[in-house]
């Protein structure tokens, strides 16, 4: 049972239900999902298109709320968080990587990477820490092989480079949890492989990663695979 390992878990989800209204019908997407993620784990959530895996990821990252069920992070129930606490949770504790990168076109790559540090601070706070933030962003870009691209705009980068920049942004505030939603879904095989190598490397360094994918082969790169089908966790597999 998932609950057996709850004591060591950084993130847990219990009995998560989520439904959406599509026209006149109510579509039940998640029908009682239970999941626990341990600190330092690399978990892949696999499922067919429309199985609800992205929805689950958004709920785990406090981008969305479940209709029913409890999500806890370090034993704290996210439903008890105020709006301010949820914003701080998204800013400091979680890093998101999206399939379509979602970089801001108006900012340079470097600015995109240090954006989370900027959004978490007031003007004065930012002025006090901007030196540190810029150095940290340059360091991340260097680690991700994008040092030469720092001053470029996102549209001047390849898909793989954009995704690496997005990973850099997700890591900017040293989050405890990295949530990746189909991070290779928009990339060719070789480039996608490079991104997975980055995630593996991060995980080896102690980063907790939860990745959503529809591709079993990509999921094999994770330490644990969870299959989502018909709105429930159907199958668990540890590498």
């Amino acid at each position: 049972m998932e609950s057996m390992s709850k004591d060591n878990s950084i993130l847990t989800a219990e009995g998560i239900h989520k439904s959406y209204r599509m026209g006149a019908t109510q579509v039940k997407v998640l029908k009682g999902v239970d999941l626990a993620v341990k600190r330092g784990e690399f978990v892949a959530i696999v499922g067919a298109s429309g199985s609800g895996k992205s929805t689950l990821l958004h709920i785990l990252g406090a981008l969305d709320k479940p209709n029913k069920g409890v999500v806890t992070f370090e034993k704290r129930d996210l439903s008890g968080f105020s709006n301010g606490e949820l914003n701080r949770f998204r800013n400091k504790t979680v890093g998101f990587v999206f399939q379509f990168y979602h970089l801001l076109d108006e900012l340079t790559v470097l600015e995109n990477v240090y954006l989370p540090a900027m959004t978490g601070k007031s003007v004065l706070g930012w002025l006090a820490c901007r030196g540190w933030a810029k150095n940290r962003a340059r360091e991340l870009l260097s680690q991700l092989g994008l040092a030469e691209r720092a001053k470029h705009k996102p549209y001047q980068l390849s898909g793989g480079e954009r995704q690496r920049a997005a990973i850099g942004r997700a890591l900017m505030n040293e989050p405890e949890l990295l949530l990746a939603d189909e991070p290779t879904g928009n990339l060719d095989s070789a480039t996608g492989n490079g991104i997975l190598e980055v995630l593996e490397k991060l995980n080896r360094a102690g980063q907790t990663v939860v990745m959503v994918t529809h591709d079993e082969r990509i999921a094999q790169r994770a330490g644990r695979i969870v299959t989502l089908a018909d709105g429930k966790i159907e199958h668990r597999h540890t590498r």
């Binding site: 959406y20 579509v27 997407v29 298109s49 429309g50 199985s51 609800g52 992205s54 929805t55 958004h58 990252g61 981008l63 969305d64 709006n83 301010g84 914003n87 701080r88 949770f89 998204r90 800013n91 400091k92 998101f96 999206f98 399939q99 379509f100 979602h102 970089l103 801001l104 076109d105 108006e106 900012l107 600015e111 954006l115 989370p116 900027m118 959004t119 978490g120 601070k121 003007v123 930012w126 002025l127 901007r130 942004r169 939603d181």
Partner: protein
């Protein structure tokens, strides 16, 4: 900091934003130019009325006038808040050149030019006697002849540049002025006989008040002679007393004090024979006295302000449309920012900051362009007139010299703030909607 950086980048990178900036700039430009010109015209017109009337007028509309005015003038002259007092005779009359049978209806104003110049801006309106007002009724060609000062439009005509052509000295022309003298009871003097009193006066100067009705119908005569023409009977009477206050006295204070002096005077004269003539006498500030002339101009200004209020509403609408378009293109950014922990209030602030920037830039450009246009407005009008014969106001009809173009700082500040407020109002609804969007929706990912 991102709330400063992102709006600047949006402004520089999104061409659609330029339309919002241009819309705001155009509206600000139009409002500044129209308000400046309209306010200038109204203020100029008020100043001319003030110069014509003095600060305060004690008088009656009755052609009979009121008696004992000399005593009241003496009382006023003893007051320390009074700078000048001038009794005036007013009555309708007919005028004709001595060499012509053609008669024209006029209004006589009987004045003492020295007293009237102290109480009003009369001396400034003269052409030949500007610096010698006390002798204004002495024609240069024969100082012994009884002189008259004609409202400028009675004798001269303006050209298209609003200029009058004066001779080096007044032409030796005599005018016959006829009127019907009235008794203190309002009856025609010498009823049953030839009641029309006619006298000849000689052209000594022109008065140019800038008030078309005055300049086209008023003939100034020496006070005593006008009194003889218009007022029959033993008791001397006047129609009005024009008063100027000392510079440190406000209009309200001065008028209140004159009212008090008048009431005291009335009580003293309560039992006099012609006390009933004092009943219809009123004390009015120059604004009240000239209300019939000023009110339509002020009304016009109000109407223009309301019309340009609609322009401001249009600006709000244009900005709102542009912001809807911008924000609809920026929903992804909102989702990204929300995923990075930005609150809905921060999103609202971000787009309101953007609106502030658009408003400040647009109104800055509009104010600068409006100011530059106003500085050159008369030159531009001259050029248009020289090249195409176009004139904003036909100077042969309207008593307008130069188009007023003095930009008032308070108007500039009010327009600047209003434009920014209009942009904020326009951006508020789309920004609020953007702020309230759920992050997962704005990221446009497949929910399932």
């Amino acid at each position: 900091m991102y709330k400063i950086i992102l709006p600047i980048r949006y402004l520089l990178k999104r061409r659609i934003t330029y339309f919002a900036v241009i819309a705001v700039a155009l509206c600000v430009f139009i409002v500044l130019v129209v308000l400046t010109v309209m306010a200038g015209l109204v203020n100029e017109f008020k100043q001319k009325n003030h110069r014509f009337a003095g600060d305060c007028v004690v008088g009656t509309k009755s052609l009979v006038g009121f008696a004992y005015y000399e005593d009241f003038v003496e009382m006023l002259q003893r007051e320390d808040f009074i700078e000048g007092v001038s009794p005036v005779i007013k009555c309708p009359a007919l005028i004709s050149r001595r060499d012509s049978e053609k008669k024209k209806q006029i209004e006589i104003m009987g004045i003492d030019p020295a007293m009237h110049s102290r109480a009003t801006g009369f001396a400034e309106t003269l052409h030949y006697h500007k610096s010698d007002a006390p002798n204004a009724f002495r024609p240069a060609y024969d100082p012994n002849l009884p002189g008259c000062i004609l409202g400028i439009d009675l004798e001269l005509q303006r050209d298209a540049q609003s200029q009058y052509s004066y001779d080096a000295s007044p032409a030796p022309v005599g005018f016959s002025i006829s009127c019907l003298p009235l008794t203190a009871k309002g009856a025609l003097a010498q009823a049953g006989t030839d009641v029309i009193d006619t006298k000849t006066f000689y052209y000594s100067d022109n008065a140019h008040t800038g008030l078309p009705k005055v300049d086209g119908s008023v003939v100034y005569l020496p006070f005593e002679q006008a009194q003889q023409l218009c007022m029959a009977g033993a008791e001397k009477r006047a129609n009005e007393i024009h008063i100027r206050f000392r510079p440190d006295v406000t209009l309200e204070q001065g008028c209140s004090k004159v009212e008090a002096v008048w009431q005291s005077f009335r009580q003293q004269r309560a039992g006099a024979d012609l006390a009933y003539l004092l009943d219809n006498v009123t004390v009015q500030s120059w604004k009240g006295y000239r209300r019939e002339s000023i009110a339509p101009m002020e009304q016009e200004q109000t109407v223009m302000s309301v019309m340009f209020g609609f322009v401001a509403i249009t600006t709000v609408f244009v900005v709102q449309v542009v912001f809807y378009m911008i924000i609809s293109h920026k929903t992804k950014d909102i989702g990204i920012l929300r995923s990075l922990g930005v609150s809905d209030f921060d999103v609202l602030e971000l787009f309101c900051g953007f609106a502030l920037l658009v408003g400040a830039l647009g109104s800055g450009i509009g104010l600068l362009a409006g100011w530059a246009f106003l500085v050159k407005i008369n030159r531009i009008e001259d050029l248009l007139f020289e090249r195409f014969g176009f004139q904003l106001w036909d100077r042969t009809i309207y008593a307008i010299g130069e188009i007023p173009n003095r930009v008032e700082l308070n108007v500039v500040v009010a327009i600047f703030l209003s434009a920014i407020a209009a942009c904020l109002v326009g951006a508020l609804v789309p920004s609020w909607k953007a702020a309230k969007q759920r992050p997962v929706e704005t990221l446009q990912v497949n929910l399932l």
